[in-house]
Each structure stands twice: as C-alpha cells, then as structure tokens.
C-alpha cells in the first residue's frame, strides 16, 4: 500500500515538474518577445504634449525665444521692450527697453543664434545680442539673461518700413536682406578680408536687388532704382530665406512664385531659378536644419518641402523639386519654426493651429491650438517644447515628448527621399560626419542582405549537405563511417573562426585565383570522366578490397590534380577569357563590380557553417529508412542510385526538410561570418561579387553607436524582432510540414 502511494506521489511530482518546465520555456520566450516588442513600440508612437502652460502678457508680441531648459522665455514686444519671463511662474525676471529704437515701431524680426535682428518702420535695423549666463549659488542654478544692443543701422535710404528681414553671419561676413513695404528688396553685405599680415579690410556692398525679381535673368544695373512701372509688375515679396553659406537666397512671392538667387558674389547676385511653388501666395519660408531643404507654406495652408536636386537636363545641373508634402492647415500658414535637432519643424496657421511635422518621414505628429491667431512661434532648442504667443497676448508653452519623429513604417521599409539624394531610395546609414547629419534607417537593404546571404549559402550548402548525407548513408563502406563524427565536429567550429578564415584567407585567395575558379568545374568534369574511364581498368581484386567508398578515395587525387591544373592555367585563362584583367572585364562586359569580400565568400563560409547541420540531421533521417524498403527496391531490380533517389530520399524527406529548415534558420541568424567576410555595405544588388549587410551583422556593427532609447537603438531592436519572428515562423512552418510528412510515413 505504502509503495503504491509513494509511486503515485512520484508520478504526480514528475508530472508537475515537467509541466512547469514546459510552461517556463514558453513563458521565457513570450517574455523575450514582449521585451523586444516594448523596446520597438515607441518608434511608431506619435508625439504627445506632456504639459501645457499659459501666461497672459501685457502687450502684443513680435518675437519669442527660449533657453535650452525651457525655464526662461525672452519676449520682444512690438513697441520695443525685451522682457525675460520665468516659465515656471510667469514672473518677469528682467526688462530691457530698446534704447536704439527711439520712437519707431518694430515691423519685422529675424532670430539667429543669440541675435535679434529688428527691422523698424523707418527703415532702420537694430541688432540685439541675448545671452543666458548660468551661475550656481549654494547648489541652486541661477540663469541670468543679458541684453546688449549694437548701434542701429540705417538700412533703407528711403526710410520705408521693413516688412521682412533676414540676416545670416559667417566668420568673416554678414548678409542682410530686407523687403520694404513698397516692394523693394534690399541687400547689404559686409565682408572682412584678412590680408597676409592679419590686417582686416572691410568691404561693404549695398544693393537694391528688386530688379532680380521683376526682370528675368541677370540684373545688369541693380544699383539703379528700377522704373516705377516695372516695380508695379513685380509680385510682392512675402517671405525670405537665406542659408548659412550666404549663398542661396529664396524669395517667396504673393503670386505663388518662388525665386532662387545665388548671392555668393554679393556685387553680382543672379537669379538661378524661378518656379511656381503654389497657386496661391507663398506666406512663409523656412529652412530645415542644415539649410538645404526649404519649407514653403502658402495662403491655403499647404506645406511642402523643396530641395535642389541634381538634374542633368538643366544648364545649372540642379533643379528645385518638391520632395515632401505635409498635411495642410485649413488656413494660411503664417510661421515656420525649424527644429535644431532633426528635420522636424513647427508650422502655425492663422486659424490658431500649430502642427509639429517631420519632413523626411512626412508625418504630422501633433496638432496643438491657440485661441487666437498666433503672432509668433518657436521650437525649443532641444526640440522638446514649443512656445507661441497669440494675438490675445497669451504666451503658451507646451512640453512635448517626441522621441522618434523620423520613423514611420514607410521610412523603415519604403523608399524615402533624403536630403542630397536624387530620388527616393532605400538607405541605411546610421551615422555621418557632421552634426546636422540625418540618420537614414531603412531596414530594406538589410533584409535584402540577409536574404541574399542566406540564399547563396543555401545554394551551396543544401546540395552538398544532402548529397553527402545520401552518400554516407547509402554508399559509404562501413569502415569509412568515422567520417560522420568528423563532419559533426565541423559544426562545433566557432563561426568567428570561419568568418576569420573566410575574410582574411579565402577572400584574398578567391580574388587571386578567380579565373581558376571559373575553369575549375570544367577541369573537374574532365578529370572525373578520366577517372571513371580508368576505374573500369582497375583489377577487381583492388576494388573489392575497399568495396563501397573506394571510388571516392580513388577520385580524390584526380580532384586535386584538377584544382592544381586550373590554378596553373589561371593566368593563361585570364588572358584568354577576360582580356588580361577579370575585374575590368566583369565591369565592362557584365557591368558587375568585384569586391574582395563578396557574396561568394560569404556563401562558402556560411555554407560551411551549416553543412554539418544539414548533413548530420539528413544522414540520421536517411539511416533510419527501414532496410526492408531498400531491400524491396533492390530486389525489384533498381540500382543503388535509383533506390537512393526513389526510396531513401522521399522516405527520409521529413528529416531532410527539417535539416534544411534548421540550416536556413542558422544562416538567417548568422552574424560573425557575415560581419567578417563581407564589407558590410548596405547595398541592394543581387550581384554575387558584391558584399552586403545582413540584419544580424548590422546589430553587431551598430550597437556601439546606438545610445540607449534612441531611434537607432530601437530600430536595432526592430531588426532583432524581425529575426525573431522569421526564426519563429520558419520553425513553426518547418515543424508543421514535418509533422504532416511524418504522419504519412508513421505506419512504417
């Protein structure tokens, strides 16, 4: 009795332990998946407002600025007062009336770095420098703003109000462009040329360049004031944009035309291109970070991004093209504020809607509203907040969480038109040399690379592995069976060793003897035929001693001789077939570029990694084919080869199929070999002589560059998730197919 009880208990305990173990495995895999998913998920989330604050100001505002921490706002009132307001409690920290303004009114403002360039209604320009200095007092950070004014400059001789103004500075030069209320466009450039002895020489150019707009092409006499009738025909200038190279000036006009001037030679600026950017008036212009892409907002609320794209058809070789279109506002666009971090920007429309956009991903991430028409908007320096003042004199502050504005499914998997590219393309380029570099994270080239590498590896490994298994299980003599464990040991070889060999030994070798490899199959065929011919003349006594397997041993010297002959003839063959230089020949005749580390090398190396797997599993399956079936086939007059192909292979097919699938899974996830044996160039080209970059290797390459929580970091997790899902799917499909096949043969 006691023993039965105890046995029952052990049974129960074992049952539960096993159940628990199984469940634990499933839970761990699920947890892994959930963890990866949670890392990926934020990529596709929209931006959101974390916190919103409003402050009522006393008067109407024309310009706004904030510090890095969004603690202090600097506000410029129309009547000429600079005020610093604490964004925590709305208290005024400092007031600074602009002394240089006198009785004039502010009509336009341009902000650059820490400067305010202020245009007045009597044609003057004020430059105001702002700075926030930090100090610590007993561990508390105190930010004290400073204001300093430069001497006002008389910009317009005719003393007309300056409707819009733009100013850019470089180390040695400063360019000011302003449009006056009566439709003139004025340029003032100061250039400092340092001579060899360090003595600066100042040169100033003052020009009225209105003629560039009204007259087509080069303006011959810009300094002469244009005739009145010409002025009347000139479309009104509505907005200006100048890049920091002080070279490209864009002017938006009320008839929807966009003018592009080259002002690199300040004395002779000329019109490069004029395009119709909109059917209604252009109301706002703004450069994105990097000053290459131009955002154009129009009267109807349309927002487009334009860029100069290489175009051979044009004389200049470049043409302005619309590369992105963003979601429209319902009313005229009145302001554009770029981010200092990425290609994101804010747009404000006269109906009080403010959109947070990202140019490259073409998405509008967030829409926020003010109660009245916005007067001015600004993006915080860290792109984590937006400020606006509306015509009711309310100051708004939004804290924004917008971690991954550049990512959408389209940027991850589709073609994207990046700045500097001629057309939309699949690009992976995570880091670049400059600060304003835009990471390009398309997974498509990596998926392509993975497929390419896997395919070439499978192309090599499946026939070799399966046929080797067939040979070993069906034809090899018993005394030669120790070959099997030797091949199995190959599977234990760390892939880093294989990658090392492939990259540092095989790749240069193949490059050196490439023509030999091309002619090798021919010679091998020739020598094998010769060997078969000789075999028939060998005395049966010798053959009998080795039985099955002797053929293989007999072949080995012939294969070695074939290889030797091909290598010896390599140079001659290159001369004969490839006109002396196979690389050039490939390039000229077939249009294929030859990389030293290419898909052939990787195919070989991954192939070597997975051949033992495919071999071992298929060999086991083939060995398990009942001997009675083989006897039946042989007794029916089938040759051993026919038996192998018609009985052994089909009967072992579930096992062979699993073997191939497991090999496939391994090849997809293979990292070190791909990493070491290809150039890791994320290009999309089936060319077998090119390298590629695979998903798994990419993760290894990029991890050191990926700060935690960043877009690259999460994109790498997405790559991991893709690999995870692929492996999961492949294994599931493989197992179901295998079970199905097994059911067919289960009655054996």
């Amino acid at each position: 009795m006691k023993s039965i009880k105890r046995r029952r208990f052990t049974d129960k305990a074992a049952h539960w332990v096993i159940k628990l173990g199984g469940a634990a495995v499933i839970v761990v895999i699920l947890a892994l998946f959930i963890f990866i998913f949670l890392e990926v998920y934020p990529l596709l989330k929209d931006a959101r407002v974390i916190d919103k604050k409003t402050f009522l100001l006393s008067e109407s505002v024309i310009a706004l600025k904030t510090d890095d921490q969004q603690e202090i706002a600097c506000v410029l009132y129309k009547k000429g007062l600079v005020e610093f307001i604490s964004l925590t409690d709305g208290a005024v920290i400092k007031k600074h009336p602009l002394s240089g303004l006198g009785n004039a009114l502010i009509t336009s403002v341009d902000m650059a770095d820490n400067h305010l360039f202020i245009g007045t209604d009597d044609g003057r320009l004020l430059t105001v420098a702002l700075s926030f200095s930090e100090s610590f007092d007993q561990g508390v950070r105190i930010i004290s703003p400073e204001v300093s004014e430069e001497e006002p400059l008389c910009f317009d001789d005719q003393k007309k109000p300056l409707k819009s103004i733009i100013c850019k500075k470089s180390d040695s030069a400063r360019v000011l462009i302003a449009s006056s209320e009566d439709g003139r466009l004025l340029l003032r450039a100061t250039e400092e040329t340092t001579s060899l002895f360090g003595r600066g020489e100042k040169k100033e150019v003052v020009q009225d360049i209105t003629g560039l707009i009204s007259g087509a092409g080069r303006n011959d006499a810009p300094h002469l004031s244009p005739p009145d009738e010409r002025l009347a025909m000139t479309p009104a200038v509505t907005s200006l944009a100048l890049d920091h190279f002080l070279e490209n000036l864009y002017v938006g006009a009320s008839n929807g035309e966009l003018f592009h001037f080259n002002i690199s030679d300040k004395e002779n600026p000329y019109l490069v291109e004029k395009i119709k950017a909109s059917d209604t008036a252009i109301t706002a212009l703004g450069f994105l970070l990097g000053d290459v892409s131009l955002v154009v907002g129009d009267q109807r609320g349309g927002i487009n991004v334009w860029m100069r794209v290489r175009d051979e058809a044009l004389a200049s070789g470049w043409a302005l093209k619309r590369i992105h279109t963003l979601k429209s506002h319902n009313a005229a666009v009145i302001a554009i504020a770029p981010s200092f971090r990425d290609k994101g920007f804010l747009t404000a429309a006269s109906d009080g809607t403010i959109n947070l956009n990202h140019a490259t991903s073409e998405q509008t991430l967030l829409t926020i509203t003010t109660t009245a028409k916005p007067a001015t908007i600004v993006f915080s320096p860290k792109a984590n907040g937006a400020l606006a003042v509306d015509e009711n004199n309310t100051l708004y502050l939004w804290h924004i969480s917008n971690p991954h504005p550049e990512t959408t499914l389209k940027t991850l998997f589709g073609r994207v038109w990046y700045e500097g590219y001629e057309k939309p393309e699949f690009v992976w380029q995570s880091t670049g040399g400059t600060d304003d570099f835009e990471p390009k994270l398309s997974l498509t080239p990596l998926i392509f690379g993975t497929i390419k590498g896997t395919m070439y590896a499978m192309l090599f490994a499946v026939p070799v592995g399966v046929l080797a298994a067939l040979y070993t299980s069906q034809f090899l003599h018993k005394t030669l069976k120790p070959i099997k464990p030797v091949i199995e040991i190959m599977a234990a070889l760390p892939s880093v060793v294989l990658g090392f060999l492939a990259g540092l030994w095989l790749a240069p070798l193949i490059e050196k003897i490439f023509p030999a490899i091309i002619i090798f199959p021919l010679f091998i065929l020739l020598f094998i035929s010769f060997a078969i011919f000789l075999w028939n003349y060998i005395p049966p006594a010798f053959k009998g001693r080795y039985k099955h397997g002797a053929e293989a041993l007999f072949l080995i010297p012939f294969i070695i001789i074939a290889a030797y002959v091909s290598i010896q003839l390599s140079g001659y063959c290159e001369h004969l077939l490839f006109s002396d230089d196979y690389r050039r020949w490939l390039n000229d005749i077939l249009g294929l570029r030859y990389d030293q580390r290419n898909a052939v090398v990787v195919g070989f190396a991954i192939g070597f990694a997975i051949i033992p797997l495919i071999f071992t599993i298929s060999e086991d399956a083939m060995n398990n084919v009942p001997k009675s079936l083989i006897s039946a086939s042989l007794a029916l007059g089938a040759t051993p080869w026919q038996t192998a192909m018609r009985v052994v292979l089909p009967t072992a097919s579930p096992g062979v199929f699993s073997a191939i699938m497991i090999g496939f899974g391994r090849a997809v996830g293979e990292t070190m070999i791909v990493l070491m044996a290809t150039g890791n160039t994320p290009i999309m080209d089936w060319n077998i002589f090119n390298g590629f970059r695979a998903l798994a290797a990419n993760i290894a390459v990029e991890i050191p560059e990926a700060p935690m929580g960043g877009t690259l970091y999460r994109t790498l997790f997405l790559a991991a998730m893709l690999l995870f899902i692929t492996t999961f799917l492949v294994n599931t499909v493989a197992e179901t197919v295998r079970q199905k096949m097994k059911r067919r043969y289960s009655k054996l």
Binding site: P626, A632, L634, L636, T639, R646, K747
Partner: protein
C-alpha cells in the same frame, strides 16, 4: 537419393555460405524445375531464407558473407564477376517474409519495377498495374482506391501488394519467403490459389512453415536442417514416403 528434375532452370551446386565464421549453408545441391512450385521447409534457423536470398543475390547486402559453390540460372553462374546484379534481380523477383510496401500510393508501389526499368507511358503502366493486381487477387479490394497510401492497407493486403509488385516486373522466377506467415486462412488460400495460377507463367520457389501448404501447392519439396539439405524430392514422395527419419519426424510434427 539423387532424383531427376525435368526442365531445370536453377541449379544449386555444392553451395556453402558463411556469415563471418559460421557456416549457415552446408554443401547444398538441388535443381529447380521450370514452371513448377518448389517449396523449402525446415525448422527455424535452418537456412531456408539464406538459400532463397542467394538465388537473387540479396545476400550481397549483408557484410561479411562468403559464398562457395555455384548457382546457375539457365546455365549461367550468377556469382560470376561479370554478372549485372540488377539484371539478375529483374529476372528473379522476391517477396519478403514481412510485407514491405513503399510509403507511396498503391499504384506507385505496383509500377515501381517498370518505372525503374524506364517505362513512362501512363496507359502502359496502368495496364501493368491492373494485370499484376488481378493476378495477386488484390484488384477487387483496391481498384477504387489506387491512389491511397499503401501503408493504409491491412497486413494481408500489403503482402499481396508486395506479390503484385514483384510480378508486375514479369520476372522468370519468383522467390517467396514465408509469404503467408502473417495472414489469416482466407487470405492464405487466396494466395495459394494465386500461386497455383502463377505457376503457368513463372517458376515459383517458396519457403513455408506450413506443411499443408507445401503439400497442397508445391510440386517439389526440399527439407532443410541445420544448414543441410536433408531431402529433396517430389512433394507427394516427401509427404507420403520420406526417406530420411528426420524428415518424417518433422512432417509428422514430432519436432520443429
């Protein structure tokens, strides 16, 4: 004790067979008559299967087998070095002790031999299949479901399928190693009828443990013991008037 066999097709001459060092067959000499049924009987382990396997060289598959003596078919030594084994096996079909259909459809099983020979014509293959299945008395059972997996058949049906598969190749000689050991009496009698029918076209050699069966259907009978051929004679002679004491003991059921 030598008897005269008319119309000889197979001659086994002084045949000895060693599995490694054990001698499984000891100096066997017998002749098989054409278009007759010859049966081999004897206690378990006496070497009947070994001998029958020698006739189509299936022993080649077993390692460490050494053969002395000769087997001639139509006067040619089948162990001569220039003999093509697959050709031989096409002429000498075999049905094994345990049914061993391929995990393929019934149709594919039956036409395996012709297929291997290179017959591709569908209608020819269909005719061959039907003819073979009819001869093996299986046609009525399976004509509706030629494309189901052969492994779905019962054991008896599988054995008849194996016979159909062997005779679809139209061999000259059919070797059967205890074809009825797994069958019920009805199936057994069906196969016996079939064998008698087959005799018109083929030479049949059958190993059996069933004395009645040997007595009923065979024309000649050989009795083996411990690797030796004890007695070989016309069936009626063996069963009514055995010359050897051992034979008599065995067939009367005193041992074995």
């Amino acid at each position: 004790m030598e008897i005269l066999i008319p119309d000889q097709i197979v001659n086994v001459i002084n045949l000895s067979l060693y599995y490694g060092k054990t001698k499984a067959l000891k100096e066997i000499t017998l002749d098989v008559s054409k278009s007759k049924i010859t049966s081999f009987i004897g206690p378990s382990g006496c070497g009947k299967s070994t001998l029958i396997r020698c006739i189509n060289r299936m022993n080649d598959l077993i390692e460490d087998v050494k053969i002395e003596g000769e087997i001639k078919i139509d006067g040619c030594d089948i162990y001569a070095p220039d003999v093509d084994v697959t050709e031989l096996r096409k002429r000498v079909g075999m049905v094994f002790q345990k049914p061993n259909p391929f995990p393929k459809s019934i149709f594919e099983n039956v036409i395996y031999g012709p297929r291997v020979l290179g017959v591709k014509n569908k209608s020819v293959l269909k005719d061959l299949c039907e003819k073979a299945l009819k001869r093996a008395a299986l046609w009525d059972d399976v004509k509706e479901r030629l494309h189901v997996n052969a492994l779905d058949l019962s054991g008896g049906q599988q054995q008849r399928l194996c016979i159909a598969r062997a005779i679809a190749m139209e061999p000259e000689i059919v070797l059967l190693d205890e074809p009825c050991s797994a069958l019920d009496p009805i199936a057994t009698s069906k196969i016996e009828d079939m064998l008698v029918e087959l005799k018109k076209h083929y030479t049949v050699i059958i190993v059996t443990h069933n004395m009645q069966q040997a007595a009923r259907i065979s024309d000649y009978t050989g009795f083996f013991m411990l690797g030796k051929l004890m007695e070989f004679n016309v069936t009626t002679e063996i069963f009514t008037n055995p010359r050897e004491k051992a034979t008599e003991d065995y067939i009367t059921g005193r041992f074995g």
